[in-house]
Amino acid sequence: MTATTQPAAPDTTNDREPLLVVDDWKTYFKTAGGLLRAVDGVSLRVDAGSTIGLVGESGSGKTILSRSILGLVRSRRKVEPGGTITYDGVVINKLSPKERRRYWGKDMAMVFQNPMTSLNPVLTIGRQLTEVLTLHLGMSKALARARAVELLESVGIPEPKKRADEFPHQLSGGMRQRVTIAIALSCNPRLLLADEPTTALDVTVQAQILDLLDEQQSARDMTMILVTHDLGVVAGRTDTVAVMYAGKIVEIAPTKTLFTETRHPYAEALMRSIPTMDAPNHTRLFTIPGRPAQLTGEPKGCRFAPRCSYAQEKCLTEQPPLVAPERPDHSFACWFPVGTKPGQEALERNLSAGQTAAGTSMSLMTVLGA
């Protein structure tokens, strides 16, 4: 399988202090269709200097979670009914907006999904860089300008002096993402949140940007949360991977463990959707049947059950807790985990019945067990 062809990340180092602890965090939205549970009880521990990958399909709540960590979810319909976010020993979600803002740009910085829209179209690249430097580091205009050029150079932008005077629309997508990275890194943040930094980019540029992030992360000993919907992206670059589904973490483990001992059927499905270079050209990509989970309404049972080929009666009525039965650093939330005896039995039961307990036909579950 793919995972084995990738160089595995080193094991998580537990001797580090956690820089960020998210505990049972919830972010809901009041919508016309009822309460939308975008993030529904997420717990995370991010050690200083490590990289954690946050993986899940579109709408699983990755962006909302990462923005919640900063405190940047801007919506009047937002409800934050519970949980704590502790950064460097401070419970930051209790801070006033003003106090919280002090962390932004300086302690925590963010790289956004779409570099086409995340730079201000009417300000020069240089301006957008220098304003953070003068604000947070108290630099003079001239000093900030010189530093901005240096930063642009350090993220691999050719002719940084000239580029600093240009407007975002004069740069390519990859260049722009380099600029947003330069902005994010400008004040040496300790925590970098990269929200799908490569999704909007060409495949060829994706690797360059990821390598750049990687390089900067180790050079600065920075902690990084790398959000993506592509497990292939996190494979060689993160220490830990958390798989999100419908606002919850369904499986979290050291990267290598996750790839070799996948337990959650959703994580397994994601794994199969990684395109491989060595696969023959017209291989059908594995896809997950059904539509992304409904996030409104009281969750009843496992949110993934309707799309899961392992689904049993229990999955429809009881929510599986996130537990670590095998190793302390590998948790998953599934009643019938993949690769275990109950899981195997569940799958066989469904195969012989032709459909899962949720009523989904097994024939829709493409290429399973191939």
């Binding site: 399909e57 579109s58 709408g59 799908e196 592509d230 959707s273 896809t287 997950i288 829709l364």
Partner: protein
Amino acid sequence: MAQSRLAGEKPQGPASVADPSSAGAGPNGGAVPAKRKSRSKLKNLGVLFWLAAGWLAVVGLSAILAPFLPLVDPAAQNYDAVAVPPGTPGHLLGTDSLGRDLLSRAIFGARISMIVTLSAVAIGILVGGLLGMLAGYYRGWLEKVIMAATDALMAFPALVLLLALMATLGSSVRNLVIGLGILGIPAFVRLTRASTLVYAQREFVTAAKSIGALNRRVLVREIVPNLIPAVGAYAFIVIALLIVAEGSLSFLGVGVPPPASSWGLMISEGRDSLRTTPWITFIPGIFMFLTVLSFNLAGDRLREENDNKGGNA
């Protein structure tokens, strides 16, 4: 087979996990049927809309029924009650400096204002709508000529255009209607042309054409019904504009000739004694303000409603 959970959903292809765009496809991806379905949501227009509509109904009805209402003759001068303030028995809203009843004059003034602006807006809709439709449907040189004329009309500040016309033609109610009508034309030309351009591309029009329907028939049967909601909503806003324009002209003394009472004229009559008897100016002023506000509110709300319905045109 798939039952309860997916009931009512069309069978759909499996969603690829690797496709970030899959969440973006909203429920309203398809084209909205052009012909309006039902008007059941009339209640959703909001309190303000109905307040505005209520005021317009009151003003409109009393203007229409003015001769039959138990009102004092608006021209009758009561020398025993000259410039009495509002609240005086017999003169609910007071009288002006000639002892004429302000309520009665305001209602008869509404009559003139309404007749003038409604006729003018009718001219605007008919002429402007027709020209706009022709321009949008036939395109070519016809469109160029029509749009050039429209641009030229719009190149005058509204009041300047009106003043020039009224000064040349002489002030009379008929000329006022013509002038205001001309003022209203360009807006409707632009609106109907833009909408016609859109609708002329729609399937139901191309379909009608392909089965050999005559152009005239296509215009009347397929395009006009679709223009009505937008033109209707816009008419409210144009009426508001025209009421102000009419008032301005009368205020300046080149609108409705004096024996008649129009709001603008009444306001201007009270000007000289503003310090001592402000109500002579402000009573018709309030009538005018509330009416203009109501037309604006109603028009704005209707336009919003149209936008929401036909938003993805």
